[in-house]
Subunit: 298 residues, 2 copies
Amino acid sequence: MSLLRKVVFLQRKLQLIPPGSSLLVAFSGGADSVALVLALLELKGFIGWKRILLMHVNHMIRGGEAERDELFCREFAQRHQLPLLVERIDIPSIAEKKKENLESIAREERYRLLREVKDREGLDLIVTAHHLNDLVETVLLWLVRGCGTEGLMGFDEREGDVVRPLFLVKKEEIVAFVKGKGESWVEDSTNMDVGYARNRIRHRVIPELKKINPSFEENFLRLRALLKDEDSYLREKTKEALALVQQEGRKAFLKLHPALQRRVVMEIYGVRNFRLVEQIINSIKKGEELKTAQYRIS
Amino acid sequence: MSLLRKVVFLQRKLQLIPPGSSLLVAFSGGADSVALVLALLELKGFIGWKRILLMHVNHMIRGGEAERDELFCREFAQRHQLPLLVERIDIPSIAEKKKENLESIAREERYRLLREVKDREGLDLIVTAHHLNDLVETVLLWLVRGCGTEGLMGFDEREGDVVRPLFLVKKEEIVAFVKGKGESWVEDSTNMDVGYARNRIRHRVIPELKKINPSFEENFLRLRALLKDEDSYLREKTKEALALVQQEGRKAFLKLHPALQRRVVMEIYGVRNFRLVEQIINSIKKGEELKTAQYRIS
């Protein structure tokens, strides 16, 4: 399936971006976001979207390269007659102050800004260029760093006001699509640095896995669909269990299946750490009452 | 935790090999099975196992190297005063006849032989040297080749009459344990051939993942525990759903959550293929009755 067909398929299946929507597109100038904008432009009239606004965030991390990227984005937007907002944030200083790593601060600040602009401009949705390879990389990263079952599902096509039309598209299809349009993009030089865990997964791990099975990513999507369904069922059952525990307390909790006990504790106590969840379950088994009072079922 | 402590921990948790048991140990002469036998010997009196019999299968795949391995096993068994059975099977000829790959035929034939000897000698359990790295490799292999949720769990500590006391032990701990005992082992030269998918995972993929997180294997074990619990709950619910569908047919099936519909179809029709399951569900939705007649609930 071609890139555009995959975007249309997802659009039809989930009504991902309803007709009449106004969109704020996160635009870095990389191949992914160039492909995203080109695809959106091609489908804009067909689906009937109202407005497309690009936003480029200059994180001021990569000095001269960041200036080059900003220029590329300005030129690209002008050529396609698209409005572009450029925001600059001094990520290194914020990271220094908050003592957190650049990557996560950059992501946090980027989404904060996108949301701010979206609200200010009265737009409906934030559109990002996340694609199937990003998904597989994210899941492998979670798997390696340690996660619960939700980590195996990575991110979704739609999360609140963020939508990802390239969700089903592979990187190789993105590159081919952009090249086929005669367009270019800017390459982030840190993308090749395997000192970053994600790049190690991308450049060292996934190519080996694809030698074993070239359609590894598609297979993962199928497995993910199973996991999603089972998770949705388990959430339903957890909700029922929560209501019961809310009414009847500890006694009802002890009768639950261990899988539901774990999910109920995660909900009520707001913890995700495996050991902590086990500790809480053990203390309830030993006689402690559940802290249901502070918890409201939504 | 040391290797022996991990074996004892598992033994206590699951009563993996009950006192008084007679054991048939699959013994290749590789580091894993050498560690297994040394650990079993050390715990034999402590736990009170009755009898340990080693069995070496010469698959006649690797010519001179297979002879060397057989000799090593004979010498090892003699030195430790353990009875050893050696069986030879001409795997290449069988694979040629059955048109299947060597690896899977070898595994199949090895288990068939082990079971035969176990029954003939009146032994209780087959003991294999599978360890934590094997588990992680198996799961990654399934993930890459495409699997359902059961693939994510790999193999179990106990499956029928097969037990795996080294389930929690990492390869590095095995090597250190064997060296610490002043023992040696034979190395299968094909283990280094990354033409085999498993070796590619072992030598190219996992070392990269461990650079990101050295305790990646332990984290996986935790995730696996969650998956196991949720799977056990889903099996319980599937059983209930099956009984209902058995009684009330299609109407009850249509009311089930999609996750249960899928599991019910897999049970009744004995299929695991994702697309096939979807097809069957669709045809039932379109009006076809379920083939519950041929199905017996166990």
